[in-house]
Homo-oligomer: 406 residues x 2
Amino acid sequence: MKDITSKLSLVGKNLQGSEIRRLFEVSMQPNVISFAGGMPDPDSFPAQQVAEAYFELLSERGELLLQYGPSRGTAEGVQAAGYLMSRHGIRVSGEEILITNGGQQGINIVTQVLIDPGDVILMENPTFVGALGVFRNARAKLVGIPMDSEGLMPAKLEKAAQDCMNRGEKIKFLYIITNFQNPTGLSLAPERRPEILQIARKYDFLVLEDDPYGELFFKGPRDRVRPLKALDTDSRVIYAGSFSKIISPGIRLGWLASTPQLIERFDMARQMMDVCTNPLIQAMADRLCSSGFLDRHIGNLRGIYAGRCEAMLAALKESMPGGVTWTKPEGGFYIWLTLPGPLSALKMLPKAIEQKVVYVIGNASSPDQSADASMRISFCHEDEKTIEEGITRLARTIHSMMGKSK
Amino acid sequence: MKDITSKLSLVGKNLQGSEIRRLFEVSMQPNVISFAGGMPDPDSFPAQQVAEAYFELLSERGELLLQYGPSRGTAEGVQAAGYLMSRHGIRVSGEEILITNGGQQGINIVTQVLIDPGDVILMENPTFVGALGVFRNARAKLVGIPMDSEGLMPAKLEKAAQDCMNRGEKIKFLYIITNFQNPTGLSLAPERRPEILQIARKYDFLVLEDDPYGELFFKGPRDRVRPLKALDTDSRVIYAGSFSKIISPGIRLGWLASTPQLIERFDMARQMMDVCTNPLIQAMADRLCSSGFLDRHIGNLRGIYAGRCEAMLAALKESMPGGVTWTKPEGGFYIWLTLPGPLSALKMLPKAIEQKVVYVIGNASSPDQSADASMRISFCHEDEKTIEEGITRLARTIHSMMGKSK
């Protein structure tokens, strides 16, 4: 077969590779400092604890843990997810949980079960590139809502919902990353949270709350990261959780929490996708939770990422030219940096690569390509010294572009 | 929210739970003998080898194996898949492999990338229930092709392809399980294999070859299970492989082998589904392959399943009333049994459950519900003594139904 194009589906024809993944090759070159990936610090992975848990569990009951598991998740997987929900004061029954192969699969399942082509998904602008890809494959209409330093702006959300209603469009859900958002690092202010739910009720749409970073706050109090799900009085919020950032992404473990009626649908969709999640990994996660290890481990992670964020913020302050602005996250992995005037993060990227530093262009994360002046820079993966050097290189690149653009 | 129905997509509304999974609850009751599941014998799982591999690998390079991996699969995953392909005499480069979370995910990926609503998928009638579910969710037109004891009938395939062409329908691919088919246990005769490919060329459709059971032949020679992929001269065959039946299903490890052009698309689709497959599991599979363990292990599995199949065939011969017919598999997990005259496997199921034996009704596997008199009985999960007892119970049930229907 010379050309397979005629065999492709509409989705198959329109597929696009992830912008971020394309940068991986560049960032693998020697001496390149990568602020592009969202990969956690590998030195922080609890390899020994995971290895011991696997070994013990397989010795105890390998015949069960190597078999197919229930598509909803095993009792242990559900318990591990429930443990993380309970840290936010949320109680869920087993019928309200579906274990997934990481947060991305959760987004994919929800989209398949809820979205027909043309349905509206409201979302922060910018938002997570992986979610954008899923929503585009489903041919949803993407409506981005502006953010300020307090996160998604409720008045803008209401305006957008009203506009959709006026146009007769069907809003299925708001996709929102409430804590330390990807890519901005911003969080939705606590006082805005009930307001957002109020608007969801008024315009009768669901909320898909993606919360992989909520545990990674640098300082308390914890109630600043309390999810929308904790305030959800009418089963309107679908919560997508993940172990990727607090145990490891390679284990591919996450969950959805929602009403039993929806979880049943999500489960049926998931059976067809890949049957079930590895039972051994669910048992391992439960062991790390119930032994108290994960709680201590999360404490360590907060310290690591707080230090890196601080180093990046200090280096930015030290070296960035006037007119460049950036967010000041209080948790998570990311800072969002915006160039002044007519500068384009896309056009600057080759220059940055020459300087051996890479980032993710803002438009990769923007549903309407309105973030050309911005970029996501991650502090999760490089150590503090490297972060300083990388920001110096980035500042040099921006200085030279600003000189040119004058 | 009282009713979420208005929020569901067309797919979400039409989702159906797997018939087989519904039987799980029944088969978990005490003293029920289940011929329903396709779960491998758990005592055969290489728990110790898996445990040791995980422990060593995490000690050696936990920081890499717990990180996100490439969405295509790691070098080790690709090597493990390549090892199993090479046992069939098939050589593939890294660009021709995509590692998946088991065979089901492979089917799901191929369907998303190739199928638009209304496209035709040709398939054996009956066929794998998990594939049927994926194809139905994609709103494909399902065209079942009859089988005889030599597998899919080439003349019937050509007739169906011609009919589709005459109706102006677009055939995207033939889905076929070439070896020890699920649910019939039948294999496509070696002399039919080039014929099938010839028809695919003539009518210009692709072939999705699903081959989870090929290694589990009871007797040689091996060239009787040689996949269509080995005869594929124009990159027409997409091969879906799986480690589920030869290492364990819980590890969720499979692969797709196809042309680089299609693998690239499959990879892009897969990134949006769940990012990547667990790198540790890929490294473990490679270690079991390259150490020679898996080869010996497969030898043991063949002996186990051959013994069970033999026990089931002997018990069937011993106890079944005249008019009942069944297939005689030379490998795999399944026998397909057909009741005489007007009997319905669906209507008989409650009686069988009373007798504490369960099976999968034929129509669960039939694209056009034409298999009401048939059932799939699995010999993979119960030991030989239990198989004998279960077949006795089943024969008793059939006898009593035949008495009634007179």
